[in-house]
Symmetry: D3
Subunit: 242 residues, 6 copies
């Protein structure tokens, strides 16, 4: 089975890190194809970047399904474009925030998402609410830019670690969710160090994608995820028309 992992920003080094995280947990029979769009923002921090990553992301989703992907992971913790991707694809589409939250619900009661920038906190709040976990989860920001995670000298990981400690002490967190695909390489060590599950959404989504595919299930097409009607799109997005 081929699993497409789309990093919706355009930074190839982050795609590589995501690919490594995905491959580190993939089952023997799973082939990971990690891509990023050629158009759009170099990192996703806040609602505007999130909106503008969509054309590139959705083009990769459609292309990936055409190339035979059995499932698709959207590897940004804002879960951008998940609804649209589920509409255009027939195979399962999984966002890394939802994946991490679903895993956390199996392992503990309260959880805390540690994300990068404060600007992302309302988006995190919105996702926690949307996924029905407002009474169990909350979000904190480490105050680090996304791309600082690519730089070992930035001190970013220390800031993440500090927020995890605060979540355990102050939020009664039983699980920690790493709120950025750029933190995918930290989960295993932090789980060990902190003594509770620290969940990376990329890995969680890969395993969840394998699970859904293994069940033979596909996105429901009888309601809101019905394939979009064919219609003209104009201008430079014409090629993306359904």
């Amino acid at each position: 089975m081929k699993l497409l992992v789309v990093n919706p920003n355009t930074t190839a080094s982050m795609t590589a890190k995501i690919a490594a995280a995905a491959r580190s947990v993939a089952s023997p029979g799973t082939q990971i194809e990690a891509v990023n769009p050629s158009m759009g923002p170099v990192s996703i921090e806040g609602f505007y970047d999130e909106a503008l990553c969509l054309p590139g992301l959705l083009a990769e989703v459609a292309a990936g399904e055409r190339r035979g992907a059995a499932a698709i992971v959207v590897a940004c913790f804002d879960d951008p474009g998940i609804d649209a991707a589920r509409s255009i694809a027939s195979v399962p589409v999984i966002g890394i925030c939802e994946a991490a939250i679903r895993m956390a619900s199996l392992l503990g009661h309260r959880f805390t998402i540690v994300t990068t920038q404060p600007v992302s906190l309302p988006a995190m709040d919105g996702l926690i609410h949307r996924y029905g976990m407002a009474d169990r989860g909350r979000a904190r920001a480490a105050g680090v830019p996304v791309l600082a995670l690519e730089d070992p000298l930035s001190g970013a990981v220390t800031k993440v670690r500090n927020q995890i400690r605060a979540a355990i002490a102050e939020d009664r967190a039983e699980c920690i969710l790493l709120g950025c695909a750029g933190m995918a390489d930290l989960a295993r060590d932090l789980t060990e160090e902190m003594g509770l599950p620290v969940i990376d959404g990329v890995a969680a989504a890969v395993k969840l994608a394998e699970a859904v595919v293994g069940l033979g299930l596909r996105t429901s097409k009888v309601g809101g995820y019905a394939r979009p009607a064919s219609k003209p799109y104009t201008g430079m997005l014409a090629a993306l028309a359904p």
Copy 2:
């Protein structure tokens, strides 16, 4: 004061209808500028169209603010891109679904949104939930394509009328919300005919925009709507970089 009304689809006849609805309620001192993007879907029906209208919509929002708009209305009942538009603009940005829901909350208890296609119902459910009205509102679909509303012979209005009657009888609706900008011309007559408030989101948003501007208030920039950091965007979206 200049008010920008963006129809996020690319159908000019619908923009004209929206402009007329906006002008019919605008205060004497308000100048309505109604535009639509040149790129994107000809109508917005479901999550995929909603995602792909965003680049065109956000470009119009940014351009409108540069041209001096005092507030911006997004004239699609899915409230596409509201969060992103509020991030990129400093002036207030108002979606027609939120506007209609806020007006309804002042005039009655329960409300029903009558939208076009069943594919849009989960999006409507999501907005009702997001706006905190899950215990007061629900949505129904008339089963008409958006562009059928442009055709007086399509029978679309009769189907809308039937759903309004069902909402009164079965949902205990005290207000009706017309769930598509393409229904903007129907509100006044249906209010009269049905004997309860029938609210058009375009008109509601225009008046709400005037209200916010009149208060001298602008979008908060201290949290999730902070202006996006300057960063490179690549490919054909480079021109949209913040």
Copy 3:
């Protein structure tokens, strides 16, 4: 258009301040009539005062509609008697707490109400819950009596300012709501000083009232706001019988 603003307490100096706040934002064509009842409490602090302001408030609402008011604002942040006023009037009736909350929802995610006395906090909690914003808003008390706001030497404004700063730092508030009609004169300066929207409910309600009237909408009479059946009222309230 004539807009009736009812201060439901009997303190004329506060009515004058409310009138000034209302007039400072009213559109050219709007005539503000500000009144207060001759019977009832001199200030509204807690549930008991709130209940006992109702006969005077509702008499003013009914008289105001008879005198031709196009809409009515109830200028106490507890939104006392809103449901009853909407029943007895046909024109729109708007409470200043709901107005402020609806405006805040357009400008930011989380908000904090800064009210006067701790005794009012459960009422604020109740309104936030009723208006569907329990996941986005909370309330704080400055610990000042309502009428201290009328006295520039009381230090009341400093206490309000301190709570605003705490809300920004601790609640992640993106908007502040001034939780008492007696703070109506502070909003514009505090917005400037604090760098985020500080919303006065009186002004918000005036603009929202103009908006609803401009839409040609009136209170729904098909459900809970149906005009009360004519029936005898006995004793000293007989004159208030519907």
Copy 4:
């Protein structure tokens, strides 16, 4: 122990029926004093009547406590003035809607309130929501005026019975709540006839009042129910000043 039961409308025959219902369940040591105000509406149907019953109701509450009542029951299913009564009194104050809902929660999962008039349904919805039972309860209206319950020839009881049957069949109700103090005499027979708990709020509140008094507990005075500060009330309500 003396228990004050206040019928907040001014219809003495209904007070007598309420008194009988209260006495039918009171413990041997409980003395029931049933009163109604001399001022206010003859029946409470909708928000306006509910607001205007408050001065009479609160005067009776205060007088009752002065006369030595150990607890006070407010015998109208809208729970009018409960918060205000709890502020002015130190003894426990119990509304019949809350009492009935709390009893129902001990005996089954879902419940349906069968009230008199459709105009009261939004008030019932509001109470169900306020008491935290929105996922377990709903309300139906029998379509009978309150005072028709006083007239055996009105057919009112048949209409109540029909709604109970519908609630069992369609709402999966496990308990029925009689949504008007004027139905207090029906509960015992309907429990027998319908084969599930049919709860009268008057009786429920009397027993709950005995329970709270038996625990030696009184209304909390540290927050929203703190005794109102002494202050002038003007006009014909001056005598009600705290």
Copy 5:
């Protein structure tokens, strides 16, 4: 009337304390029978103990009903087995957590449960949520083992007192709930000392049980609490088959 109070752990000294608390509030006509199972955990701290107390608890419930109990109280603040006990019994079954929460809702707005061990906090959260009070209540742990409450030299009561003070100061609690049947002897003194209602669930449940019995109401048998169908149980639990 005979009231069965089941302490679901096997510690007889705690049963004696519970019996004393129950008798201290029982009405003259109420005979308290306090029992504990002979099988199961010596104290209930966390989910595992809670599950394993059930066979013993349910055997006592069934035996108690056969011996003529008019109602049954389950005297552990986790409300273990309440749903099962309501299924197997026809008489009312009342858990002490639900009883305390229902009493608190009559006396104040916010409440805090002070329980023994942190391991019980998620169970408390779950019960607060289940009973519809997530917006009004929270839980704190004093950090004392259940059986330390039996030892006056353990310092346990001081730790409970400290958490009560913190709840008043930090949670805006208006009522305190003692979150363990082993604290039943502390309520009356702490109410006096702390100046707000401090509620013991055992006493609350006894009075609530008397109230329900006094209404002539029994558990609804039309839905989820229908008596279990007769069927074989195997192994050492065969004697518990319905």
Copy 6:
């Protein structure tokens, strides 16, 4: 990896069916061990059976972990004992209801659980609520005893099919969940026949268990799932003491 699947009732034919369903989706490296307790109810229908299956279930969970299970599935749609099992085990424990609901959330918006008996509906409601999906899911009963699913001549499958059709037509369901482990063999055919995802919880839980194990995650032991303190258990449950 060895995966323990516990059927918490004592009917071996149902265990065999569950084992087959589990094996049909297990990955090549996964060894399924399916067991049922020797003590307890022959089927689980309602809260009483659910409570009395716990000693047998928890004994199997503990024994399974000792024998080296990498994860444990509890194969009853009531998710009995999940919290207790997560406390006693260190490996992940997954209930089939939660598993099915988490899968459904990835594939569609609204879902309907089709369970066996009406007596189980409140339990289903409770789980939907607990898992945060009250706005997206509901439950229906086919009106068939659990063990009728073992008998091809019982007509049970037709009744299940009818409820699925009703859910699609009336609930706007986008996914169907088979609400009993005894329906595990029906999912694949019904998915095909009904044209939307029909999810069996046993299969879903097996794949989810593989996913969690593949991530190297275990149950959090820092809060409510901390391993129970060692303490005496008395009577015939002594052997189950932690």
